[in-house]
Symmetry: C2
Subunit: 331 residues, 2 copies
């Protein structure tokens, strides 16, 4: 018998389709990736090709080159120049499309991938996220900052050279507004952070834990929407990503790299997105919200039912996902 | 300069990425579809192969055969047998996976597509939706009924023979619950149905109208999330799909078939989903909600930003989408 599970954080129901569920090994990538060279003369993110992108806004230097390089997105979805203006006319509401859209090149090596990087390099990437997050958040035109990564075609990337992106928008999305408000309702009713509660429950159950480090816990949620999706949640209560300490950032690099390495080895380098889900900096210190990293392997497609109802059918078992990933050895 | 637009129905912001926007002809399907035979001996939905599916639950007969045939989904996401049971334990909420998951085969002809069917056949399909919707809604275990179609691989279909599906769930989704509640807030504040207001504004603006019939209006929303997505909305105020009259069902068939034919001819048979978005039958007659059909061509992918923020980047202009489709002649 299938089971419907309720996600207490997002308030979404998911159908855990036990009768249709695939075994973990059925999600292993079958199509081989095109072999890539370590340097591609046509790649705008390769060292030496810096003139192919707008001038850098942030660089972590290396002897003769750089380790991480941030530039405005050449095909930015939002314009950095301009004023934030809101027009309200009848039922129409528009805001001028100002904002910040940056590309963060994660390594000079074209054919590298996060799973294979060293911890020190991933720590530099996390510190870069933090720098750009704080920079964007300090712009008075910005209400919300989203840091994310698209890995592979199914995850929406067009350039293979490893990179993340940041889009800072002049409005807050209803998705975030609603999650903040639901978390506040939970806090008012139960006097606790719902995210901390979920993490503690997962630690108690143990069946969906993938990896634990000093400051973080990686787990498959009880009501996870899609196969092998995971959260990496800080143990310390923090509403906003900008509240992270240096020792925590280093630990986040360690757990993120290891979790991605488990996916890389266990499922043969699947396409995935990850995203830093956080309250805006103005919420730093609030008791009801909690930031985390959400990792979403793109192993299935949204069809009409998911689009039309908002409910997902998960064709895998969260407990099996976690147990499979726990079993994948990584350094 | 890009523009952010607010969807007053869903409360979602969308970035209309003017600088990245593609022309309508850039969305034309490039990959040719595999040519299909009118009959496939291995297809479970072809006439003569009825034994390959569970026994029919509804059939519209034809001389020696059938015109439309409904059966339980052989790989149902929910189990028809069983009791609805909710378990609340700490922060866990689960409901037993009972529900109704049916496949509605839309034509005996394997290589047909809705855009090329006659109006009479599409009317039979709409009447079939209505029959199954009412059947599922009358089951006391069911809270929400979603009727949808997946056309093409990018839309999540695995069987090419034209068919729609119905999934009736033992819970209501937060997506629908929130839309009902937002619509109620609008009604209480402004004394009007927000959907009727949107439709009337579109009729006044005219720039995003695709097609009008006696009882329906098809339009691209002002703040539409993805290229060429459209609504087909009844002119008469109705909260629930089950309130439709026979003359309206016939007219819905006409407009749906023509809108799909415009996509078929204008964009070379793109993959798409459509879904009947409706209040549950228990809401029939309420003044604040309004059912409609949502058509979503699958021309772009959701990437990390969309997943992580809930905000979409539309790389086309809604007004250009509509004007392009208005220009495509169909019978």
């Amino acid at each position: 018998m299938p089971e419907l599970r309720y996600n207490v954080i997002t308030r979404e129901w998911v159908i855990i389709a036990t009768e249709r569920a695939k075994r973990p090994d059925q999600f292993v990538r079958k199509q081989e990736r095109n072999p890539l060279p370590p340097f591609d003369a046509k790649c705008p993110f390769c060292p030496g090709n810096e003139a192919m992108t707008p001038p850098a806004t942030y660089v972590v230097p290396d002897t003769n080159s750089w380790r991480v390089r941030v530039t405005p997105n050449k095909f930015a979805a939002l314009s950095y120049e301009g004023e934030r203006k809101r027009i309200v006319q009848g039922i129409r509401r528009t805001v001028s499309g100002v904002g910040i859209h940056e590309v963060m090149v994660e390594t000079p090596v074209h054919n590298m991938t996060t799973a294979l990087l060293g911890d020190a390099q991933v720590e530099i990437i996390i510190q870069t996220y933090l720098n750009r997050f704080k920079f964007a958040s300090s712009d008075p035109r910005i209400d919300q900052v989203t840091i994310f990564k698209n890995h592979g075609e199914a995850a929406g990337t067009s350039i293979e050279h490893p990179h993340s992106q940041m889009i800072a928008t002049p409005v807050i999305t209803s998705q975030l507004r609603e999650r903040l408000s639901h978390a506040l309702e939970h806090f008012d009713e139960f006097g606790e952070c719902i995210f901390c509660r979920v993490r503690e429950q997962e630690l108690k159950d143990q069946t969906r834990i993938v990896l634990e480090t000093e400051h973080f816990v990686a787990f498959v949620q009880f009501a996870t929407l899609t196969p092998f999706s995971m959260l990496i949640m800080p143990r310390r209560h923090m509403a906003c990503f900008a509240e992270i300490k240096d020792s925590e950032a280093a630990d986040l690099a360690r757990i993120l790299r290891r979790v991605l390495a488990k996916l890389y080895r266990g499922l043969a380098d699947p396409d995935y997105n990850y995203v830093v889900r956080t309250a805006p900096t103005e919420y730093s210190g609030v008791k009801h919200y909690h930031w985390y990293v959400s990792i979403i392997p793109r192993l299935t497609r949204m069809a009409g039912f998911e689009l039309g109802s908002g409910m997902f059918i998960n064709v895998s078992l969260p407990e099996e996902n976690a147990s499979f990933l726990r079993g994948i050895a990584v350094e």
